[in-house]
Symmetry: C2
């Protein structure tokens, strides 16, 4: 273990990110308000803001009302000062987006994944999609801060590689990050889709300004992301928040992972389709919308399993908020949210001290794609204690 | 949410704690080695060490071998520079200890809790025990850094109060912290017994130098503590790591907490006694030692439930180590450890990337008591990122 000290240059970088973060969270904030909420001196805040304005990242935008004294100048993030590319590589579909600095999409493109596609083919396809997006928007490549790639976990961050997700046969420790750097010429940030989506929630979704939350991601499987003490918590090997592999039925069926009765094995789209006998996930979702009793019953049972897992996470991590998101959730949002809310109101041990809220992500099916772009913004701009303490 | 910046005085305090922490972890370390492992400059390290020596907290202790150049002076914590009092208030027993700066016990005292004792009576009893210990050791009160109190959770840290643990009828939001400050004249640090024990593991047990670990505490119930990124993780309302209220049998019996099939309700001493029909926990433990088939079977079933909960925690938090400890574990250590180790080798999703170890605490039945003393040391000396970032 290395427990590292810190120093003045790191502190300067960190405080700069803290100030930018405040401006991003509270659009139109003044220098005085930043000093009040960050504990930094007015002089420090002024110096940092001056540099952010010079760099074009922040702009002044008129005067705010003030309680006496001279009016305070509002500060806003200059949303066009930089752009991020986000790519979500799902086993069935590639989804790409270009966003501005506030995480707002400028253009989106999607393309099905050809079954059995090789890493080289996927890399070429992504590079092509990125070219198309930049051409469509007329964005110069030098304004793009980087490319964020969200893929199914587990991931080996040291290698920049996919370790071999179950739905991608033959993809074992593929160094997709380096392949994409070469193919696109952009800096690439790789993370698992659920962590990326959680970061997207921080940047542009339900998690804005929330110190501690758990994000449950519904895709082909069930993943998750954790924000603890305002920081992404990734775990020692970057594989934390595997909420889908909580055992919620220990005497249940064996999961591909080796565990028994995993949440994912009970409530993934494939599991729900099998349980309902309705043939396809689309049919199941439509059944829920139409109030088909069999479809509703299958989804209610799934929601109860989810609620068990959510209460476990609340008891282990004592969070403020649970966010449910991802494309797999569509049409099931209300039932999953309501079952989870009922459980969070009645079952966590510390519920008399704090109520854990649950919200459905406002990003909808775009969560992982926007999250992938947010990886770039997060890496570039977010206050990261790990940087403050790195060697 | 407030995301705060940092400044030079906070950085100085933090770096001081980082240096002291290194000396505590690596007894006999040199200034050069501290600089290497912390990333601090040799000048910064020298300045901090000089002040720690002046204050009597650190001492020089001869020269270490050096690869050329002048010999390096070994640094050691001056274990007698300060003392800490630890008190574990269990529903059935009060246990007290005085430790030195390295967490080594100088004297211990125990006393049964009179059933139905009032908060005022408990306070007076603790104050009396502290007097007795200080008299026995001849320690002057001004050398005592403070008193750490470990009690069953949940705890309201803002009030310094017990919220009302199930085993202490009528103790609802008792401000025991202030009562003890008044009765003993010492600064008091309050925490739940499991968190205290986890901090004890960091200071003097299996968790020394481990960045991420989960501590499962076996007392009258099953609690836990979390060390994540080298910091105690307490959660937003200070009630994280309630591992005993993970649901490991969702269709199982209702727990007093409102959840179903909680780990604690299935493997607490009371639950095991009821399941075995052996009358007392002592009889059950003896049965396990003697190889009584009924006792062994009951404990093996409990160990399987524990393993489920441990694998869930590993999948959620991606930790290095699980520590099992607490007085309730005595004579069951091996079976609980072995079942957990087997599960950790075969069931976590990321097991091909990292193996999660499991260890039985070396502190034995003293874990919470030593942990209570460690609360004082931790508050006084440990590098805490929260302090670096506080307003």
């Amino acid at each position: 273990m290395r427990r590292t000290g810190t120093n003045l240059p790191k502190v300067g970088q960190y405080n700069r990110a803290v100030v930018l973060d405040q401006i991003q969270l509270a659009d139109g904030i003044s220098r005085v308000e930043i000093a009040e909420s960050t504990g930094l001196t007015p002089q420090t805040v002024s110096g940092i803001v001056r540099r952010l304005i010079t760099e074009g990242i922040v702009r002044e935008d008129g005067a705010a009302a003030s309680s006496g004294g001279k009016p305070r100048t509002r500060l806003r993030v200059n949303a066009d000062a930089g752009l991020a590319v986000g790519v979500h590589f799902d086993p069935f579909q590639l989804s790409c987006v270009v966003t501005d600095l506030l995480g707002r999409p400028l253009v989106k493109l999607q393309q099905p994944v050809v079954p059995g596609a090789s890493p080289a083919e996927i890399t070429a396809t992504i590079a092509g999609l990125v070219e198309d997006m930049l051409a469509t928007t007329g964005v110069a490549r030098d304004r793009v801060l980087g490319l964020g790639l969200a893929t199914p976990g587990p991931i080996d961050q040291a290698l920049g590689a996919l370790v071999g997700p179950p739905q991608l046969m033959g993809w074992t420790r593929v160094a997709l990050k380096d392949m994409l750097v070469e193919a696109t010429g952009l800096p690439v940030t790789l993370d698992n889709d659920a962590t990326a989506a959680a970061i997207g929630e921080c940047w542009a979704g339900a998690g804005r300004g929330v110190a501690d939350f758990a994000y449950f991601f519904f895709g082909a499987g069930v993943g998750g992301g954790l924000i603890l003490d305002n920081q992404v918590y990734r775990g020692g090997s970057m594989n934390a928040a595997e909420f889908g592999h909580q055992s919620v039925q220990p005497d249940g069926p064996e999961c591909y992972c080796g565990n028994h009765g995993c949440l994912e094995s009970l409530i993934s789209p494939n599991a729900l389709v099998a349980a309902s006998g309705l043939g396809t996930y689309a049919a199941l979702r439509q059944g829920v919308v139409d109030g088909d009793p069999m479809a509703v019953k299958v989804v209610e049972v799934a929601a109860a399993h989810l609620a068990t897992a959510v209460v476990n996470v609340a008891n282990i991590l004592d969070i403020d908020l649970v966010v449910l998101g991802g494309h797999g959730l569509r049409h099931l949002e209300t039932r999953f949210r309501d079952a989870t809310a009922r459980a969070l109101a009645t079952r966590p041990l510390a519920r008399s001290i704090r109520t854990v809220r649950v919200e459905v992500s406002p990003l909808g099916a775009d969560a992982a794609m926007v999250g992938a772009a947010a990886l770039v913004l997060h890496t570039t701009y977010s206050p990261q204690v790990s940087d403050l303490l790195s060697l």
